[in-house]
């Protein structure tokens, strides 16, 4: 039979162990990153069209909280705008993202109507570093090639945040000029508005 005096240090020890184990499971940096993305836009349901321009694999990565995990994902926008600091907000529908990984595997991915693209981890993984380019329009008249290789980032917006600053070239965009009106209009069948400027909660 144990006396109350003996139970106190045992309970104390057990509490310390439980607290230590529980705290070691959390990643405050990842939690802060996920929190920094803010709430869902109420006008766009969760799914392939949501959170355009945000770092997809912050949530769709190994640490969650999203259920699906992406090996590569991002958003392509039409225009950088005349003023590079103004950013770009209209997603590029049907653009082709072309990727070559360090093993020489070539992959082409199509963007959806808000400019989002993603590759699920279960379908394909990439051997980093990778090279990337984006094409769109008739005869691929709109082309953007990355000057540098991608060392490890699995989301465009890990680096391509908006607006442009000393540590970001801004969103990935296809032309520095005004968006091509005839191609942008093809987005009219999109279930959500691909123009982020429409939303008050956008980004």
């Amino acid at each position: 039979m144990r006396t109350p005096l003996l139970r106190i240090p045992l309970l104390l020890g057990a509490s310390i162990v439980v607290a230590a184990v529980a705290s070691s499971c959390a990643d405050p940096v990842h939690d802060a990153l996920v929190s920094s993305l803010g709430p869902e836009n109420p006008s766009i349901p969760q799914g392939e069209y949501h959170r355009a321009g945000q770092p997809c694999t912050a949530c769709h990565g190994p640490e969650g909280p999203a259920k699906t995990q992406f090996s590569l994902a991002g958003t392509i926008f039409w225009s950088g705008g005349a003023d590079p600091n103004a950013g770009s907000v209209i997603g590029a529908n049907g653009a082709t993202v072309s990727v070559v990984d360090s093993l020489g595997t070539q992959t082409q991915i199509q963007t959806n109507c808000v400019g989002n693209f993603f590759v699920e981890q279960g379908n394909q993984s990439f051997a980093f570093p990778i090279l990337a380019a984006v094409f769109a329009g008739p005869d691929n008249q709109y082309t953007a090639r990355m000057v540098t290789q991608i060392g490890r980032a699995s989301s465009c917006a890990d680096c391509h945040t908006d607006p442009i600053n000393y540590a970001s070239p801004g969103h990935v965009y296809l032309t520095a000029n005004a968006p091509p009106a005839n191609l942008v209009s093809q987005n009219s069948s999109c279930p959500v508005d691909p123009n982020l400027a429409t939303y008050s909660v956008a980004e």
Binding site: L5, P84, T148, R152, D158, S168
Partner: protein, 183 residues
């Protein structure tokens, strides 16, 4: 009953002594802000690092190949590198990735980053006392030490030759130019 009470007392005392010991061991001395570490390099070390004119120096290679925004172009990373396509120094110029060419200030910051990873050992390598491959600057990209970016150089390739020749005092600009090419 008395023996159990003593046992509990002993456990608590032992835990307290252990805790205090661990706590004391964890305490470090107060940092001395006046302490400096000298790094000795040849007079031409920065000029060879930076290159210029038709010569692509070490910087032309490592700033492009290692300094992407998701690798060594990330703030807070060891061997932080600035480059035209990556991280920019924040100043009145307001440069951004993909904008104006890399500035001399950025090149010098990169040079400082490269030689200060292991300052004492780097001085000895420049003095010819050690093979350059003792340095993390080479051991990491060659994956002789764990490198999160993997084996980005192979022994004897242009990147290895560029860095090794620079650390040996006579940079091989051709190797640096070849290493600066992204396939």
């Amino acid at each position: 009953m008395m023996n159990r009470a003593r046992l509990v007392g002993s456990i608590v005392l032992a835990a307290a002594v252990t805790g205090i010991s661990v706590g004391l061991a964890a305490c470090a001395s107060t940092p001395d802000p006046s302490r400096t570490t000298n790094i000795y390099t040849p007079d031409t070390a920065f000029a060879q690092y930076a290159g210029g004119g038709a010569n692509v120096g070490v910087d032309g290679f490592i700033a492009l190949r290692c300094g992407s925004l998701d690798c060594h172009g990330e703030i807070g990373r060891p061997l932080r590198l600035f480059s035209q396509s990556g991280l920019r120094i924040v100043d009145d110029a307001g440069n951004y990735p993909g904008g104006a060419p890399e500035t001399e200030e950025e090149q010098f910051a990169n040079f400082t980053a490269a030689i200060s990873i292991q300052p004492e050992l780097t001085s000895k390598v420049f003095a010819g006392l050690y093979d350059p491959h003792v340095l993390l600057l080479l051991r990491k990209p060659l994956q002789l030490e764990r490198h999160k970016g993997g084996a980005v150089l192979q022994s004897g390739d242009d990147g290895d030759t560029c860095l090794t020749s620079w650390l040996n005092g006579a940079v091989n600009y051709t190797a640096c130019a070849n290493a600066a090419k992204i396939p």
